[in-house]
């Protein structure tokens, strides 16, 4: 009887596991370093997690619908590069004004939408597996940005940097802008995924695509849009990323796709689709950047082992998920 009782209680525990992990990590961090819980450091961690976090929100849609997108990292690099080139070009006639930045932001959104649409259409209309399509576009965008940069770096013109700078470094109500954007994307994503028909269709398709088709759901349309949503998320992440360094190169956004996927998986979404939730993804993204931060602030484990600790966490998360299945 006890086994049954434990079994009944466990699922809740599993759903909360990533959150518990984060809480433990915070307690650990706070005990090891007094600076950990300062407003500055918390803002720092959240700001850093916002890029991956925003992308991971979009990735949650794609993964729950049973898809995957490996191209987001190089897509971010490509959009950054294009955005900078466009802004530099527009600055010639217009000068270093907000208008130029707005043009850049607009261009970024259009590019993100287009890139998502291309992935989505190739997958649904072209009937090619998502893994293969996005593996292909991953290579294409990565090499395009390298080509645009001529093997080096594309830099935003200096006068524009100072105009654009507040988007990353500025604050609103003493909270940095990237955190606001992250929170907004998370809330919007949550509403769309959990409270709208579109969101329900995403779950239905990931749960069983054939059933969805037979249930009069416009499967191709819903799937295509999940990639468009992700493309737009990548674009938003890029918009707040560009003012941070003011440049883009072939190394921009390297391995972001894996971090975003990891955040989704740690958050309790299974890679085979059909289940998961946005708040888990948010916790996953914050957890990943907190690990780096804790390693940075303490000296127990070398910060060079950041990747190893993150990898361990991912595997642990999946082990827990596996347990919930049988």
């Amino acid at each position: 009887m006890t086994v049954a009782a434990v079994r009944r209680r466990l699922p809740n525990l599993r759903a909360l596991a990533p959150l518990l992990g984060l809480v433990l990590l915070v307690i650990l961090g706070a005990n090891l370093n007094d600076n950990f819980l300062t407003t500055n450091n918390i803002n720092n961690v959240l700001t850093r997690s916002s890029f991956i976090g925003i992308i991971a929100v979009g990735m949650t849609f794609v993964i729950i619908s049973g898809g995957i997108d490996l191209s987001v990292g190089s897509m971010a690099a490509f959009i950054s590069g294009m955005m900078i080139l466009i802004m530099n070009a527009v600055m010639e006639p217009l000068g270093a004004t907000w208008t130029v930045v707005l043009v850049g932001i607009g261009a970024s959104l259009v590019l993100g939408l287009a890139a998502g649409l291309i992935n989505g259409l190739l997958i649904t209309r072209g009937k090619i597996e998502a893994f293969i399509v996005t593996l292909g576009t991953l290579g294409i965008y990565r090499s395009l940005v390298t080509f645009l940069a001529n093997g080096g770096t594309i830099s935003l013109a200096l006068p524009l940097r100072s105009v654009y700078r507040p988007v990353y470094y500025g604050t609103f109500l003493s909270v940095p802008w990237p955190i606001w954007v992250f929170a907004l994307v998370a809330i919007l994503g949550s509403i769309v995924l959990h409270k709208t028909r579109y969101g329900r269709y995403i779950y239905a398709i990931g749960s069983n695509e054939t059933v969805a088709r037979y249930s009069a759901i416009p499967v191709d349309w819903v799937k295509t849009w999940s990639y468009v949503i992700l493309g737009l998320c990548v674009s938003l992440a890029t918009i707040i990323y560009v003012p941070r360094l003011g440049s883009a190169s072939g190394a921009t956004g390297l391995l972001w796709e894996l971090e975003a996927i990891a955040a989704v998986i740690i958050g309790g979404t299974s890679l085979r689709g059909g289940n998961g939730h946005i708040w888990g993804t948010i916790v996953g993204a914050v957890l990943l950047s907190t690990i780096g931060n804790v390693l940075n602030l303490t000296s127990i484990i070398s910060e060079y082992l950041n990747g190893a600790v993150q990898g361990l966490i991912i595997i642990l998360a999946v082990l827990l998920q596996r347990g919930s299945r049988k």
Partner: protein, 553 residues
Amino acid sequence: MPAPGHGSRYMRTAVIVCKYILFGSGADAGANALLSGVTHMTEKLVPLEARGISRDFDGVRVLHDVSIEFLPGEVHAIIGENGAGKSTLMKILSGYLAPTAGEVFVDGRPARFADSAAAEERGVILIHQEMNLADDLSVSANIFLGSELRRGPLLDDRAMERRAGELLAELRTKVSPKARVGSLTVSDRQMVEIAKAMWRNARVLIMDEPTDVLTNRETDILFGLIRRLKSSGVTVIFISHKLPEVKEIADRVTVLRDGRLIATQAITDLDEDAMATLMVGRELSEMYPPKRLVPDAEVVLQVEDFTVPGWVENVSFSLHRGEILGLAGLVGSGRTELFEGLLGLRPARGTVRLHGKAVRFRTPRDAARQGIAYVSEDRKGKGLLVDMRMKPNMSLLALERIARPFLSDRVEQKILEQGSSDFDIRTANRNAVVSTLSGGNQQKVVLAKTMQIDPEVIILDEPTRGIDIGTKREIYFLAERLAAQGKAIVLISSELPEIIGLAHRVVVMQSGEVTGILPADRLTEDEVVRYATGLRRDTEQPQREAPAAGGAP
């Protein structure tokens, strides 16, 4: 014409008649032949016994103190309604589940199976309803999976293929050991499963509804094989919903109801009615609703010269408001493919008129929007999101109406409650994940879900497959009720008694063509089978109503 409601006795005669007509009387030839393989000399011992088995799930007892002795060389049928605990008991006997109380005995000694491998070790093997074969591997690789023959460190493919060939020859199937399992028919896969069990020296073979997916002819082949296994001393435990089959193949029958053992009796002491009564726990009243006279109602759907390349050739028929139109034919006659063509799931050509207006459905979504609902024969694969709860399943088709674009839990809850009461879905827990529901309840959820678009035409494809007799009856009455409300229903079914008991008119297909359209007064099994086998056909396209029979174009 015999009254279409005389339950299972009638059904049995019918099946025997069909078999006679279709296959002659030689189906059992060779049944006496012994398997040349090993015979187990354990006659004195009881190879498998359940003693006082109980099992709880989440604190709810689903099996109560069940004790059965399985004798060597007997075919022992386990029957019971969905949810009676048959599958749970079989999983316990074969080591997939542990009993909460009680013990399993093998050869008179207690056997605590740690897992299914431990049970296989002792010769107790379960063949799953959903078969456990690796599609991409060859037949011989599957048979030897986990116990491969080797020469040194390397696989000995030749020896395995030779041995697999011998095993398959013993089973008298023509399956090649080199064939890829994914390319085999369901019945051949079953043979492979059995060969695999034989290689593991099965002494007790448990088969969970093995005939569910088989045609009559394939069932006969399987039964021949079961008889041969039996005569070589193997005990076969056989779960089935089909009472005529149980009568035909079993030596003894155990009836379970609500997790309790009701009776274990020799088959000679039971007829089908008695079995059905034991299963249900009450006298079964009429199996089918009384037939309504369908008035000359307007034609809802008119199909003319419809062709699905490779499957269906120039088919024409019409469907009236308020009628149940049966679609009969042997497996492979193109019944399902015809409707998949109609719904745009297969390339097709021809004219389809809805209320006299020519239409073309490109997707099931298209069809649904114009009031045509299709309930697939494949509940788990095409009908339900089995990993999700009842509520989102039932509201899925309603979302376009109720969620624009925001979901409302209150409305969804209402749909759940309405659907549960309309379709009499009885579950302990309405928040249950669909995969945990019985087959009968799952089918009712599909129906409740389908009704959400308020369809005019409902296509029911094998609506009672894998459903127990009590729920079958409920589904028949539900279908009739919907028709009486003015829906037009197409009933595709392989079960002739069902078609004849329920349909007002029957379209019979053979090899992709309509061989006849039989009105109510000509509906006898004999007649349908003659058309289905091509023994008789109406040369002129029968009963081709003018498109404007009632509806204005």
